[in-house]
């Protein structure tokens, strides 16, 4: 009897384990999605460079997060600020889940945060500089703010809700992207007499395939963050999260299409693709805390906000973000996190919870933003002053592929 009971609880753990591992696979596949979106929305002459950056984000990130990143994020809490460092984390033990399963799941999340930046800084960043950035964000910047919310740090104490990482993952990437792109300056030819010019991506089929892959991957990202699947409550929870995720994405796509139709007279593919992502980023924080209806609304709001954010960053801030990463991940990530305070079934403003949760959400959003802006400014500034952040005008014009990598991606004859 006791034995059977142990068997059953081990079995429950096994179910949780395969659920999280499968979610890990789905999130890992998002790397391909990001690579495709970024390569599709930029020019052919820089395609090898973008692919290398995406590949290295994941490769270096996997090694770095294993090395110390994971333990900084999830190690025993030190003053609410960071975790105790353990080198090369990975005991073959079970603690709710196999420890290594947790390591893997968190690794693919960390790589997501890192890879967001690559799109915003595309087509003009030195490859070596990018590698340094990628290493530092995975080793330090992301794990520390991640610890605050997910690792038992001070934000989690406050009751900050960010279920799957609108802020912890996406905004972190988005704000780092903002700082990186701002310090880099716009691509040659992006602004002529202060007027933004369109530099269309070279292959939107790749971009669209990337968005489909990302949408798929999000079914690992959000429902996987439940970190469990066994038992009635978990089953209902992951199923609910699955649906909120999907409805928000759908609403984001539809909303941004409509807005683009109204503002630019035609339903724009490039906007709509970003709109689906905006909905996904927006719902990530609240996917477990809001109803299906609220999820659709959050998605729609994110899709609308996206369009205006793209315009604002491009025309007012004059920051050149070739793939819209700052708007999609930074702005919609922050917005989605705040909206949890509005729509949460328990404690949300609209559900009679008052402003308390919204206040906490704001603290979480802005403290994380502050951390990332400060540290990534220091990082990029240091890189700029030492190895250099930006390629020469000549190399940028002719394309990074040939000068940085000695290869071109498309070849005939």
């Amino acid at each position: 009897m006791e034995e059977l009971s142990t068997t059953v609880s081990d079995l429950a753990m096994s179910v949780d384990n395969i659920w999280v591992l499968i979610a890990t696979c789905l999130v890992m596949f998002m790397q391909a999605g990001f690579a495709l979106v970024e390569v599709g929305f930029t020019r052919a002459k820089n395609a090898a460079n973008i692919l290398m950056k995406n590949l290295m984000d994941f490769a270096i990130g996997s090694l770095a997060f294993w090395f110390i990143g994971y333990s900084i994020m999830f190690g025993e809490d030190i003053a609410g600020f960071m975790g105790q460092i353990t080198l090369f984390f990975g005991p073959d033990e079970v603690d709710g889940l196999p420890q290594i399963t947790k390591l893997m799941f968190q690794t693919v999340f960390a790589a997501t945060a890192a890879t967001i930046v690559s799109g915003a800084m595309a087509e003009r960043t030195r490859f070596g500089a990018y590698l340094i950035y990628s290493l530092v964000i995975t080793l330090v910047i992301y794990p520390i703010s991640g610890h605050w919310t997910w690792g038992g740090g001070w934000l989690s104490e406050l009751g900050f809700i960010d279920f799957a990482g609108s802020t912890v993952v996406h905004s972190v990437g988005g704000w780092a992207a903002l700082i990186g792109a701002a310090l880099l300056g716009p691509r040659v030819g992006k602004y002529v007499n202060g007027q933004a010019k369109a530099i269309p991506g070279h292959n939107l089929v790749l971009g669209a395939l990337g968005v489909f892959i990302l949408w798929l991957g999000w079914f690992g990202f959000n429902p996987g963050s439940q970190l469990a699947a066994a038992g009635k409550d978990n089953a209902i929870a992951i199923s609910h999260i699955f649906a909120t995720t999907n409805l928000a994405a759908a609403a984001g796509a539809v909303a941004s299409m409509i807005i683009s139709w109204m503002r630019y007279k035609r339903p724009s593919l490039s906007i709509t693709l970003n709109g689906a992502l905006a909905g996904l980023v927006g719902i990530t924080a609240g996917c477990a805390a809001v109803s299906l209806g609220s999820a659709a609304i959050i998605g729609a709001i994110s899709g609308v906000a996206l369009v205006f954010s793209l315009e604002f960053i491009e025309n007012k801030l004059k920051i050149d973000d070739p793939v819209g990463a700052i708007s999609v991940h930074g702005v919609c990530g922050a917005l989605g996190t705040l909206l949890v305070g509005v729509f949460a079934t328990e404690g949300g403003l609209l559900n009679g919870g008052g402003f308390a949760q919204l206040g906490v959400q704001a603290i979480g959003v802005f403290s994380t933003m502050g951390w990332v802006v400060a540290t990534s400014f220091i990082l990029f500034f240091a890189i700029k002053k030492t190895v250099g952040l930006r390629e020469s005008k000549r190399v940028e014009e002719e394309g990074l592929d040939i000068y940085e990598h000695g290869e071109s991606v498309y070849n005939s004859i």
Partner: protein, 112 residues
Amino acid sequence: MKRVEAIIRKTKFTEMQAALHEAGIDFMSYWEVRGVGKAVEERSYRGIVYDTSIIERIMVTFYCQDQFLDPAIKAILSSAKTGEIGDGKIFVSDVERAIKIRNGEEGTDALN
């Protein structure tokens, strides 16, 4: 011997090829070009709306004997025209020599 270069709409190629065939022109080479001209179109990309006069066209080139020239031009005019801005142009210039690579034949024999 003349070289005729016609810049036409992509969609008119098949019709033009048929019309040229009627006019005795069976050999030609073509490729895609972008043209800057009067035809202006509106585009938008990720929130930037812009006008462009850069449109896709096909450049068709063929080399023919002088007596085929006028029928060929007529054939193009009748088949590639829509009457709307953007129909394109025909340019004629002189060619001195033609050689067929397969057998080294020169002159008008080399044209087909």
